[in-house]
């Protein structure tokens, strides 16, 4: 089990207070981003633990937008974890009471798994960029700020990444663009 986080040192009192307030307020965001990338709450909690420990060890300076900053950290760590997985973990679909029939739930799980496999095959920066847009719900402007890019470059990169992912998934499903099985 996890231990309580250690009190950090070598930071000003103000940095600590600001960081603790941000973590208290936005832990849910870290988890939901990591959970969407990884599809598994235990792995998402590992990522959240990792993010919090890292921040407490070295609090960042001059964070302008804590939610975007924490979401970016969460997506980065979650992508690393996703790419290291040898085998995709079963998502937590059995935990949901969403009214879906078993076959519908299986189909949803298959879709989520296919997307995650495709994301894992992207370069880490592209995978993070896609996750920030579609899992963390950051605006293009916010993504550009977090990844130190031009907003226009974010739009162009997302267009290219979507095509790569769609191609990968179609190959996984044995489909051509027209949807006809090969």
């Amino acid at each position: 089990m996890y231990k309580r986080f250690a009190i950090w040192r070598n930071s000003s009192s103000q940095q600590k207070t600001e960081l603790l307030s941000a973590l208290q307020a936005h832990t849910g965001l870290i988890l939901s981003c990591a959970g969407r990338v990884l599809g598994n709450i235990a792995d998402a909690e590992d990522v959240a633990q990792d993010v919090v420990e890292s921040l407490l060890r070295k609090p960042p300076r001059e964070v302008r937008h804590w939610p975007a900053f924490l979401k970016t950290m969460a997506c980065n760590r979650a992508i690393d974890k996703l790419r290291k997985r040898k085998k995709l973990v079963e998502p937590d679909t059995e935990l949901r009471s969403d009214g879906l029939q078993p076959d519908e739930r299986a189909e949803q799980a298959e879709r989520a798994g296919a997307l995650r496999a495709a994301i894992a095959s992207l370069g880490s920066r592209n995978a993070t960029l896609f996750s920030l847009c579609y899992f963390a719900d950051l605006s293009h402007a916010n993504i550009a700020s977090q990844l130190d890019m031009q907003e226009n470059a974010v739009t162009v990169a997302l267009h290219r990444i979507r095509k790569l992912l769609a191609e990968d998934i179609r190959l996984q499903l044995g489909q051509t663009d027209s949807g006809v099985d090969k």
Partner: protein, 260 residues
């Protein structure tokens, strides 16, 4: 190879194609699971610094004081825009009060981050309660007191310049700001009064001040703070305020400050 070529040439319908895959990935962990995990992570966060360095960090406990100052400075920093006459009357309440009681809640979504209650007199004497801690700033004696557990208290003269923490930069922004108060079209029920609202905006903080349209008395201040936090302050001007709120309770003993 021909498959790759077909892929390269295909029409970009990828966003539409990906939509159900993205939806599936977004929804396969339940909201309850996220909420439980967030509670577990939060429970492992360290407590803020406390007792052993209270003497040194006394002014770092200044968010509550800043909150009050923010409220009081609203009357001095915002220049009237549209509805100027009415807002000038609102500002007068901030300048000419006898006493004011402010209760502030800062929250993130449904989670309360901090609750602060402040009682202030026109002479600068202030009592602040936050998380069970009580601070009294005696304006006439220029002395700061902090009530501690075990019926003890700590005191410090206010001759030293208080530390200005970085997180209060937004407060400084407001103090320097020459903004505009915009009268809102819609009214809102506050404490049984059909209140009139003013929008006050800076780079970092958006404030909405709700006032009594007849007496122009400020009733409620709402703010969107940096970091996605929301602030709500209820304002109660010129109430029957007891003097003992600003006194050290009987039986409390003075302790020496830890200068370490």
């Amino acid at each position: 190879m021909s498959t790759n070529h077909q892929m390269h040439e295909m029409k970009d319908n990828s966003e539409e194609f990906l939509a159900p895959f993205i939806d599936a990935a977004r929804e396969d962990v339940s909201a309850d699971a996220y909420s439980d995990a967030a509670d577990r992570v939060r429970s492992r966060l360290p407590e803020p610094e406390t007792s052993t360095r209270q003497g040194k960090s006394v002014f770092r406990f200044g968010a509550a004081a800043a909150m009050l100052a923010l409220v009081l400075l609203v009357g001095q920093t915002f220049m009237p825009g549209n509805g100027s006459t009415a807002f000038a009357a609102v500002q007068k309440w901030f300048r000419d009060f006898q006493n004011v009681h402010v209760t502030t809640t800062i929250s993130a979504g449904d989670s309360v981050v901090v609750n602060v209650e402040v009682w202030a007199l026109a002479n600068g004497t202030v009592r602040i309660e936050q998380s069970g801690m009580v601070q009294i700033l005696d304006g006439s004696a220029a002395t700061f007191y902090m009530l501690l557990p075990g019926q003890k208290y700590f005191e410090q003269p206010l001759s030293a310049k208080p530390e200005q923490p970085q997180a209060l930069d937004w407060f400084e922004d407001i103090r320097e700001f020459q903004g505009e108060a915009t009268l809102l079209q819609d009214s809102r029920l506050v404490s049984g009064i059909n209140a009139q609202g003013y929008q006050l905006q800076t780079d970092d903080v958006d404030l909405t001040l709700w006032t009594d349209p007849v007496s122009h008395r400020p009733l409620l201040l709402e703010g969107a703070l940096p970091g996605g936090l929301q602030m709500i302050s209820t304002l109660d001007f010129d109430t029957d305020m007891q003097a003992k709120l600003f006194e050290i309770p009987q039986g409390y003993q003075l302790i020496e400050a830890d200068q370490g």
